[in-house]
């Protein structure tokens, strides 16, 4: 029974972290560090794969297991174990995390070669996998939260990996801190969600919470608050409006980190969490509406920013934000399986694109500006071909992976009756195709725009082999979810069906029939994508004056896009500066020092004053004491006589 070994998949990366973290510097061998780092993940993948096969071989109702390890926190009514839940959803996530994770570890051996912090890098990566596996395998909210914050920590450590480098207007440290704090704002929501869950259901365990929840009726107010709070957490981790601002800055980290954490795995944690809580979300139509709208708006906004960015990783970062928006839209319209499907294909092609960009940056000596690239096709043939595959996949051209998953989301949105959101996503699809082919063309086509001092060369095999594997997956990955209308079995939807069963009951969603309109919509979205591709090729593959013309004609809008709608600046002016200034000038200087401490000192001074006043009596002169004594005696005697 392979699932009983799942905890080794979780704890081996922790061992890898400890070994590399404590002794990595002394090992003095990049190869050894790399092997320790990668093999712990590789074994984890094998365990996950064996478990998956075991689950395939057993009937659907026997596919869910709980592996209990020990009691973590016990206090009062709360009892939280460290226990892992192996089921259709968590094994899918585990396969992605360890599979893509392994490839990226291998890639990193080549990419990080020669870096003085090589061992530190692998230690952090292993810690990340440990936290991420806790996140996806946890059988309760609190353990999920451990993973949730743990991946946030690793993200922080890895964004700031090159801690003494400049990044944009600040340093990598600024970007790392921003990521952690913005995520913490989301985690605040997650915490509140957990408190509400505990007070409502009396437990934090998935099984009992969801069993209890499925007896509630749709529209229960407390569930709405729970899901809204949890969703705030998801917007932090998965970079959605209003908390998306950290992800573009997270590109300050080394490129494998961007591929693994900020594209394929960690940022999808929000999607996973919402899918895991599908029963709760299904009970809250208002929240579902919010999720769908936030997802769609984020998708369109990020895609539009992506149109004009000039940093190769920035384009991909905004693309990730946008694609995550697509996934949230899917969840919001109740198509949980479609959201997970896109998560899977996106993990393949976005990891591929990031690693490809890493190969380019590597070849161009850390140059990331695509205006200073061009014509790299012939210098980096493997990178180019795999990058091309990834670009076509994300653009949504059949039969590559992105087509099937994105089209499923569009169709489900339409079928759900959200025509406006569908239209937004159709436009988004066109923008996606455009900005991706703009990126591809500016990087690999046209003439060289780099100085002759650079000699770009193809990356070593440790880097190109993962690219090829991911490219293959980007081509065939979509076939696990070929819709029924294409004669496919939609295997992934069926696989995940037991997980979303209860949620679907609540929403009374059945499997839809094949309709002619589905084909029409499909043709439409492919048409839009092709149009986007055509335009991008026309403008950027050769020298063209069109982009210049556009940017001058719509100068205002262009500036707005280039400056990312000024969201960062707005937050800075509205929240950060007032808080810091207020804390210093008002709370500290006025309240603390000016008021409280002044009062304390004033009391002390008052006593001092009183003492000094009374001290005058204590002159030490015997005559004056005698005088006072005499006066006293006369007064008393006088008083007695008068009385």
């Amino acid at each position: 029974m392979a699932h009983q070994y799942i905890q080794y998949a979780v704890f081996l990366p922790l061992a890898g972290f400890l070994i590399n973290g404590l002794f990595g510097r002394k090992l003095k061998s990049e190869l050894l560090v790399g092997i320790i780092g990668s093999s712990t993940i590789g074994i984890g993948f094998l365990i996950a794969a064996a478990t998956f096969l075991e689950m395939l071989g057993s009937p659907p109702e026997e596919r869910s297991h709980i592996v209990n390890l020990f009691n973590w926190i016990t206090a009062g009514d709360l009892s939280v174990p460290v226990a892992y839940q192996v089921d259709q959803l968590s094994i899918l996530m585990t396969l992605i995390v360890t599979g893509v994770g392994f490839l990226i570890h291998v890639y990193s051996i080549g990419y990080m070669h020669g870096d003085p912090g090589f061992w530190r890098f692998f230690a952090y990566l292993n810690l990340f996998i440990f936290a991420m596996l806790n996140l996806v395998l946890a059988d309760n909210f609190l353990l999920l939260f451990l993973g949730w914050e743990g991946v946030g920590l690793c993200s922080y450590l890895l964004i700031g990996f090159w801690y003494d480098r400049k990044f944009e207007k600040g340093t990598t440290g600024d970007a790392a801190k921003k990521a952690f704090i913005v995520n913490r704002i989301g985690d605040f929501g997650f915490l509140i969600g957990m408190f509400l869950i505990f007070t409502t259901f009396g437990s934090l365990n998935f099984e009992s919470v969801f069993a209890h929840a499925s007896t509630l009726s749709v529209g229960t107010p407390v569930v709405m608050w729970i899901t809204l709070a949890l969703f705030l957490g998801a917007t932090g981790k998965s970079a959605q409006i209003p908390l998306f601002i950290w992800l573009p800055d997270a590109m300050a980290g080394p490129t494998p980190v961007s591929a693994l954490i900020h594209a394929a795995t960690m940022v999808t944690a929000g999607i996973y969490m919402v899918a895991r809580c599908s029963v709760l979300f299904a009970l809250a139509p208002v929240t579902m509406e919010v999720v769908a709208i936030v997802g769609a708006c984020t998708a369109l906004m990020a895609a539009s920013i992506g149109l004009v960015q000039n940093d190769i990783k920035k384009v991909l970062a905004y693309s990730t934000v946008s694609q995550l928006g697509y996934m949230f839209l899917a969840l919001g319209v109740g198509a949980f399986a479609a959201g997970l499907f896109h998560l899977l294909t996106h993990a393949f092609f976005k990891a591929l694109l990031f690693l490809g960009s890493g190969a380019v940056i590597h070849a161009m000596h850390q140059e990331q500006d695509i205006r200073k690239m061009g014509g790299l096709k012939s210098y980096l043939p493997t990178t180019y071909k795999t990058f091309l595959v990834g670009t076509i996949a994300i653009a949504g051209i059949p039969p590559l992976a992105g087509f099937f998953s994105k089209d499923e989301i569009l169709w489900q949105t339409f079928a759900h009756g959200d025509y406006i959101l569908w239209l937004m996503m159709l436009i988004g699809a066109g923008l996606t195709a455009f900005y991706m082919f703009r990126l591809l063309s500016l990087t690999f086509d046209g003439e060289k725009r780099w100085d002759s001092g650079k000699h770009p060369h193809e990356a070593p095999a440790t880097m190109t082999v993962p690219l090829i594997v991911l490219a293959v997956l980007s081509v065939i990955g979509g076939f696990v979810g070929v819709p029924a209308s294409f004669g496919g079995g939609n295997a992934i939807e069926h696989w995940l069906e037991p997980i979303f069963e209860k949620a679907n009951e609540k929403m009374s969603v059945g499997i839809h029939d094949v309709e002619v309109i589905e084909y029409i919509l499909m043709a439409l979205s492919v048409g839009v994508a092709l149009a986007g591709i055509y335009l991008a090729r026309q403008w950027y593959a050769k020298k063209s004056a069109a982009p210049e013309r556009m940017s001058t004609r719509f100068a205002g809008f262009y500036k707005l896009l280039l400056n990312k709608y000024l969201v960062d600046e707005a937050y800075e002016a509205a929240i950060i500066t007032p808080t810091v200034k207020g804390s210093e000038k008002l709370l500290w200087r006025v309240v603390d020092v000016g008021m409280i401490d002044w009062c304390v000192d004033a009391i002390a001074r008052a006593f001092g004053f009183m003492s000094r006043t009374v001290r005058v009596v204590q002159t030490g002169v015997a005559q004056s004491y005698a005088l006072v004594f005499l006066v006293g005696v006369i007064a008393i005697v006088g008083w007695l006589i008068v009385k």
Binding site: A75, D174, K177, F188, F195, I596, V600, A604
Partner: protein, 530 residues
């Protein structure tokens, strides 16, 4: 102690042993020649370590399943007033005793090289300080408690005033007067309590806590409020609860490193411990009356402490203000009056002792090297001092409340307790308190970044050497517990579970008694509840 007569005694005299070891150490040192510095330090370390080993044994022997006071020793002291040397521990005081004996040798080891003047007095005072604080946590007699409570002030006053920084005299006097102001009222309240006991049918004057536990809840509400406030003020100053906190930044900044470690690690807990041990169970009705205000001040402290901490330029002052925020959590958990909140507060007292103690140690280490604590003087230290940076990172994350490290366990349980508290009756406290989790990340990460990240530009910093073996040895034990509590807090939660439950029940029962009386139409007890 000629009147000494054994009243009852079970187990061995292990608690007295824990108390006596540092006391003997201090006496021995006063008899020694001041020239023999090395030996003085070794003796101080040996006696405090022995006390820790004995308390570790106590920890193992302690039965966590029982809510009773254990290892009780009782000798009559002033029989006419029923005052006795009555000590014992339950699960809550047990953890604090172990924390105290754990941190004292660490603090001594931390000041191994940095304190050289008047060393003899210093080591003796540190040991006496330990005796005082241990006594506070063990005392089961209010008079004895008061004696230890005041006794502890004296060594701390001298440690700040003699071995402190530039404005040490101001800070020491402020510390002393602030605390005295509160505790004098407490003394009046203690005497009144003893007197009240004698007015009961068949009662005598007593300061025995166990007897007062039975009698005190019946004090009429009009008086109970005043007595509660007299105790609470004294404890809240010590915690310190906003707005009684302004002695803390000065005392911390001026105190030598070891003084700060003990001050933050142990002394502040005397305030929260006092609330748990005396205020709640002795005055349950007053507790309910003042609960919203104290919980409110705790929440204000959480946010206020974090915000003021954020803008500090002096790293030590930053850590000091962060204590105001962290102790706010502890007070909030106590006044949630349920098991989750109480257990969270107990473990958070330990957590704060470890994390903030370690932060003061770390700040002290860099101060020893550069003689500055201004954040702006640093930057890029991660390159020059990687071990220091790594250990600092772990401690910082523990203070931030990262799951997997100790701080999270306490904060989560406290907020959960406050959230579900039927007595607080609203989610507002917990929701506002939870924002402290965000602010903690802001002030700690920001300061960490300014000290450790970026380029190493200041030439002064380029000569810095990484931690010595002694310094690593000081920090590693603390970090072991930081991780231990994070991953397996039940080792410690188990010990205090029954005791926490007991205290919560004592308060709840009083409330319940009133409710039943109300149902029966008993008007007199209804007036009590108001």
């Amino acid at each position: 102690m000629a009147y000494c007569e054994v009243i009852e005694m079970n187990e061995s005299s292990i608690l007295t042993g824990i108390l006596a070891l540092p006391l003997f150490g201090a006496m021995l040192i006063t008899l020694m020649s001041a020239e023999n510095k090395k030996l003085i330090k070794l003796i101080g370390l040996a006696f405090s370590t022995a006390s820790f080993i004995l308390s570790a044994w106590l920890f193992l022997k302690f039965n966590g399943a029982s809510s009773q006071m254990q290892f009780v020793e009782k000798y009559s002291w002033i029989p006419s007033l029923d005052i006795s040397y009555h000590i014992g521990v339950d699960g809550i005081s047990l953890l604090l005793v172990v924390l105290t004996t754990f941190l004292t040798p660490i603090a001594l080891l931390a000041s191994w090289e940095s304190i050289d003047t008047k060393l003899k007095g210093y080591v003796a005072l540190m040991l006496l300080l330990e005796v005082g604080t241990l006594g506070v946590f063990m005392a089961l007699d209010l008079f004895l408690f008061y004696v230890f409570w005041e006794f502890m002030l004296i060594p701390m006053y001298f440690i700040i005033g003699i071995w402190g920084g530039g404005e040490r005299i101001y800070a020491a006097i402020k510390f002393f007067l602030y605390t005295m102001a509160g505790s004098l009222l407490m003394l009046v309240a203690i005497i009144w309590l003893g007197y009240y006991a004698s007015t009961q049918p068949g009662g005598i004057f007593t300061t025995d806590l166990m007897k007062l536990y039975v009698i005190a809840p019946g004090i009429p509400m009009s008086v109970q409020s005043w007595i509660f406030l007299a105790f609470a003020l004294s404890f809240c100053i010590k915690v310190p609860l906003f707005p009684f906190h302004t002695w803390l930044p000065d005392a911390h900044v001026q105190a030598p490193t070891a003084g700060s470690v003990i001050l933050a690690g142990v002394l502040l807990k005397m305030g929260t411990y006092g609330l748990v041990r005396f205020c709640l169970p002795l005055f349950p009705f007053a507790t309910f009356t003042f609960m919203p205000y104290i919980a409110g001040l705790a929440v204000v402290g959480i946010i206020y402490g974090a915000l003021v901490s954020m803008v500090q330029a002096d790293f030590k002052k930053l850590v000091a203000y962060s204590s105001v925020s962290h102790l706010g959590f502890v007070v909030l958990g106590i006044f949630a009056v349920n098991e989750e909140g109480m257990q969270g507060s107990v473990i958070q007292m330990i957590n704060h002792g470890l994390s903030t103690g370690a932060l003061f140690l770390l700040v002290g280490m860099i101060y020893d090297r550069r003689h500055t604590r201004m954040i702006k003087d640093f930057g890029g230290l991660a390159r020059q001092m990687p071990i220091y940076a790594t250990l600092f990172m772990i401690v910082m994350l523990s203070s931030v409340g990262l799951p997997g490290l100790n701080g999270f366990v306490g904060e989560f349980l406290i907020l959960l307790g406050a959230f579900k508290s039927q007595f607080l009756g609203t989610y507002v406290y917990a929701i506002l308190g939870a924002t402290g989790v965000v602010f903690a990340a802001v002030y700690l990460l920001w300061s960490y970044q300014r000290v450790f990240f970026g380029k190493l530009e200041n030439p002064e910093n380029q000569k810095l050497v990484d931690l010595s073996r002694r310094e690593i040895a000081v920090l590693v034990p603390v970090i072991v517990f930081i991780v231990w509590i994070g991953f397996y807090p039940n080792t410690f939660l188990e010990k205090s579970a029954a005791a926490s439950k007991q205290i919560v029940q004592q308060v709840e029962n009083a409330r319940l008694g009133v409710k039943m009386a109300e149902l029966a139409g008993n008007t007199s007890s209804r007036q009590q509840a108001r």
